[in-house]
């Protein structure tokens, strides 16, 4: 049953990829000869949407089967959580697509969902029995609700990025210093997304050829353990010694303050993501000989920026109550039940609060101070960066009570 459920996830992944291509066709193929732009866009948009819906059902099958097989909701480790987050992103996209019927939204939202599935697949996929700390129905309620909220924020991010690509002035004659130019930061944002893509590529390639480097690590109390890298080691673990002969590196050592499970390996992976993302970015840039956002801008030219702006805002307005409920209120109830305090300033709790404060600032800026357009779009983009930071890096860099989540 677990094998079937994994295949369903794979199927969903492929369907999302194909529907992404359909949405790209819908957006970029409008000016091809012999066709009516409106009809073309609607037709391919519809194809893309049905494919997404099929992928969504397949992913739902994955969740249901895995739940039945494992005996608990599939939200108990990093693989399951990331897979669920991608499910939430696709669900949010489906809802917003049904409201606004904008194929370009699919072109920007689906990659986020696809990247999350790919990112999930990097983590161990075993179904594990629940440790006592997770044996509570709040595991289902808290984690799923929080992920749903974050999924809607992801669509807000995608729309925010889309808005910025649509409106940022791409003309060459800008007198502003580079750090004040919208184009600089837009290219930076795109390269961050590419870093995630690069990370997934590296992991996939090296695991396909079965690459491995093993380190022996001595911890604070003098105990030694082995850490296996599946990527070539740029950074050795703190207090680690390589025991496999082949392979290259290390060139640097992971700082000792990084915490969590195997911080060295994660730091190394992060370095690979950054390097591969930067290489990927410049390769693409060499091919198109333009800023990447400048390539995408003409595709979006016939979309009213005000509509994209509203989609981005609307996503955040829909996501905010869900996030509040899942990541703060349900979290407090579970914390009171499990740890005897509803709030304990654990780093993950603090970062959930930071995310919440950030989106509250966004909403106040927008609703009371009239921040629309670019400013608001930038905040939508940064907001989701904060979400990803909370989900991924807080566990990487800061040890806390949520460490058993698999990272």
């Amino acid at each position: 049953m677990i094998a079937i459920s994994s295949n369903l996830l794979m199927l969903a992944f492929v369907l999302y990829l194909v529907s992404f291509i359909a949405f790209v066709m819908a957006v970029t193929g409008k000016k091809w000869s012999n066709r009516d732009p409106k009809e073309h866009s609607e037709r391919w948009g519809r194809i893309g949407f049905y494919l997404t819906a099929a992928g969504f059902l397949s992913q739902l099958g994955f969740l249901v089967l895995r739940w039945i097989a494992g005996g608990h909701s599939p939200t108990s480790n990093m693989f399951e959580f990331m897979a669920f987050l991608s499910f939430a992103i696709i669900l949010a996209f489906i809802i917003l697509f049904l409201i606004y019927r904008l194929p370009a939204l699919g072109m920007f939202s689906l990659p986020v969902g696809i990247i999350m599935i790919a990112y999930a697949s990097v983590f161990p996929k075993d179904v594990q029995p629940l440790i006592p700390a997770l044996q509570s129905y709040w595991l289902y309620i808290h984690v799923t609700t929080a992920a749903l909220g974050e999924g809607v924020f992801a669509v807000g991010f995608a729309a925010g990025l889309m808005y910025l690509i649509r409106v940022t002035d791409q003309s060459q004659k800008q007198r502003k210093p580079w750090w004040k130019r919208g184009t600089t930061w837009l290219e930076f944002s795109i390269s961050v997304v590419l870093m995630l893509v690069g990370f997934i590529l590296m992991v996939t390639i090296f695991s396909a050829i079965g690459y491995e480097v093993v380190y022996e690590v001595t911890n604070e109390t003098g105990m030694t353990s082995e850490v296996t890298y599946t990527l070539p080691s740029i950074a050795a673990p703190y207090n680690g010694e390589r025991i496999t002969d082949e392979g290259f590196g290390p060139f640097i050592t992971t700082p000792g303050w990084m915490k969590g499970v195997d911080p060295g390996r994660k730091f190394n992976t992060m370095l690979w993501s950054v390097i591969s993302g930067v290489i990927l970015y410049w390769l693409l840039r060499l091919v198109v000989r333009k800023r990447l956002a400048a390539v995408a801008q003409p595709w979006l030219r016939d979309i009213d920026p005000a509509v994209i702006d509203e989609i981005s805002y609307r996503s955040i307005a829909i996501g905010f109550p869900i996030f509040t409920l899942g990541a703060l209120i349900f979290a407090m109830i579970w914390a009171a039940e499990a740890w005897g305090r509803f709030w304990g300033w654990d780093p993950k709790e603090v970062w959930a609060l930071i995310t919440w404060l950030f989106y509250s600032a966004y909403l106040h800026f927008r609703l009371s101070r009239g921040w629309h357009g670019s400013k608001s779009a930038w905040m939508a983009v940064i907001g989701f960066v904060v979400v990803v930071f909370t989900l991924v890096f807080v566990n990487l860099v800061i040890a806390g009570l949520h460490s058993y989540a698999g990272v």
């Binding site: 097989a69 440790i131 044996q135 009213d304 509203e310 509803f342 304990g344 603090v350 404060l357 009371s368």
Partner: protein
């Protein structure tokens, strides 16, 4: 009540001082020629903060009523909270803070400690910031909700043309048909879309979702309730946070309460690979359950000072992770365990010269007695106890943690021979006599006591129901405010021309689509773009 400052509109209505748009007809009151139409955000009502700024109270009110100030406060709290996660807070480290931070995190850690960031979330300035946000919540809401309520309660039908044209959605159509059937049709399509319609002469107004305007204020009230509930924890007796270790079979006083708890049995269970579903990975040993079977007693003699405890069983429960024992306000959580632990040292006190055993005594590692009678005239006094002993860099003894990982006692033997007491160190398996002079007494270890020990967290949290209630109010407000929107559409016949204006507090695209569809019902086509231009 009217004052001299009140503003009279050309339509004859008298508005309170500070009003931007006439409450009756919507005509801009303070507009100079060429100036933009005022912001519709609060319907142009008179707000205290925008009107008075003379006294100190006005100034404070104006400061806290500003959303700008609120956002700045939110951002400061946000940044401060980030700082607090750079290094673990003091409660998550073990050992004295002044040593741990520099040792573990170097110079940055030392600065972190010196600036007090190791206790950031309980620092006076962080709490002050939170209270300022609370104040801002109250004043911002009051400043807006009262006048807004006044303004929205009236729903004037016919509005001034400049009000109509000032709206973000405005269009006009020339129609030569009969007015009545057109208005009837418009009224029907508005009603069909859920609008409440009022008609007066040749004017119509449709409104829906007004209650969503109160969403933000309800949500803010909820947040205030949560803040008040959190502050209630400072009331004595509302909040208790203690910890107690209980050996199997032992009955212990629950720290900070008049209850006693007995650890009947402690269980640690593992998943059986046979029992888990196929494909589920139980490599290594995966813990399935930590459980303390506990009996809770109440001490009926608690009110009589010095009386021996008179225990009456009040409650029995299986305490598991995620399933605390609940009895009245008291909560006991499964939160630690030590299996096959040495729980007490059994020692024979020996008179070295006479080579004679004076008597056995026991040093309990969890709850040591301070004075133990060994024989008629000999007592052992525990002067100091380090649960997790180590020497500091300055050669001072100290305890790394409250858990008895490496117990060390300083005892003094008092007898007729040593009336001032003879001091010795007792460690796990070894002793150290005081260096001055030949020692009179020695110690011989016998079999120590071994047991499973359960760690129970003791909590009282009377503010919890209030916090949940406040959170519920927050959610109600958020859902009201974000999942509904307040929409108004004004329609007015002026001669042959029909003027249509619309306003919403958010989701303009949806509003424009609705206006578009309503116009379609009278066979008028307007694109979304045409409706985006507004009346300007």
């Amino acid at each position: 009540m009217t004052t001299v400052d009140d503003i009279k509109c050309e339509c004859g209505h008298t508005n309170p001082v500070g009003t931007l748009l006439c409450e009756a007809c919507g005509n801009p009151l303070q507009k100079e020629d060429g100036e933009e139409f005022p912001d519709m955000r609060y319907d142009g009502v008179s707000r205290r903060s925008q009107t008075f700024s003379r006294t100190i109270v006005d100034k404070i009110w104006n400061f806290f009523s500003s959303v700008r100030v609120a956002i700045i406060l939110i951002i400061i709290v946000l940044l401060a909270s980030i700082i607090g996660t750079i290094f673990p807070q003091e409660m998550y480290i073990s050992g004295p803070a002044e040593q741990v931070y520099p040792e573990k995190y170097g110079i940055a850690g030392e600065i972190y400690y010196k600036l007090g960031f190791h206790n950031l979330y309980t620092s006076w300035w962080y709490i002050t910031l939170l209270l300022m946000i609370g104040t801002s919540l109250v004043i911002c809401s009051l400043d807006r909700v009262v006048p807004l309520y006044r303004a929205l309660k009236k729903l004037p039908v016919k509005r001034h043309l400049s009000f109509m044209k000032g709206q973000k959605v405005y269009t006009s159509v020339s129609l030569s048909q009969d007015k009545e059937p057109v208005l009837d049709q418009l009224q029907r399509s508005l009603s069909k879309k859920g609008f409440r319609v009022v008609r007066e002469g040749y004017s119509l107004v449709g409104e829906k979702g007004r209650f969503s305007r109160w969403g933000p204020y309800i949500n803010h009230i909820g947040l205030i309730l949560v803040i008040v509930a959190v502050l209630m924890r400072l009331i004595p007796g509302f909040y208790l946070d203690e910890f107690v270790w209980v050996k199997e079979g032992e009955t212990r006083k629950v720290t900070g309460t008049e209850y006693y708890v007995k650890n009947v049995e402690f269980k640690e269970e593992y998943y059986d690979p046979e029992d888990v579903p196929e494909g589920v990975d139980v490599e290594g040993r995966v813990v399935k359950n930590y459980q303390t079977d506990a009996i809770l007693y109440e001490n009926r003699a608690a009110d009589t000072p010095g009386a021996p405890p008179d225990l009456v069983e009040v409650h029995r429960d299986q305490i598991r992770v995620n399933h605390p024992l609940k009895y009245k306000d008291l909560l006991l959580y499964q939160s630690g365990r030590r299996l096959n632990e040495v729980t007490a040292l059994n020692i024979d006190l020996i008179h070295l010269e006479r080579e004679e055993v004076i008597g056995p005594f026991t040093l309990d590692l969890y709850h040591p007695e301070s004075e133990i009678k060994v024989s008629e005239d000999t007592t052992v006094r525990v002067l100091e106890y380090f649960t997790d002993f180590e020497w500091t860099e300055d050669n001072e003894p100290r305890s790394k943690s409250p858990d008895p990982n490496n117990p060390a006692f300083v005892v003094s033997v008092i007898s007729p021979e040593t009336p001032a007491g003879e001091r010795s160190w007792i460690f796990l398996g070894s002793t150290l006599s005081s260096p001055d002079g030949e020692p009179v007494y020695g110690f011989a270890f016998t079999k120590p006591e071994i047991a499973d020990v359960t760690g129970l967290m003791v909590r009282k949290e009377k503010s919890l129901p209030f916090i949940y209630f406040g959170s519920g109010v927050v959610m109600l407000g958020l859902v009201m405010g974000f999942y509904w929107q307040h929409r108004r559409i004004w329609i007015n016949f002026e001669g042959e021309e029909i003027q249509i204006a619309a306003h919403t507090n958010k989701n303009w695209y949806g509003l424009r689509r609705e206006v578009q569809q309503i116009l379609q019902s009278i066979d008028v086509e307007r694109s979304i773009e045409q409706l985006s231009k507004g009346g300007k």
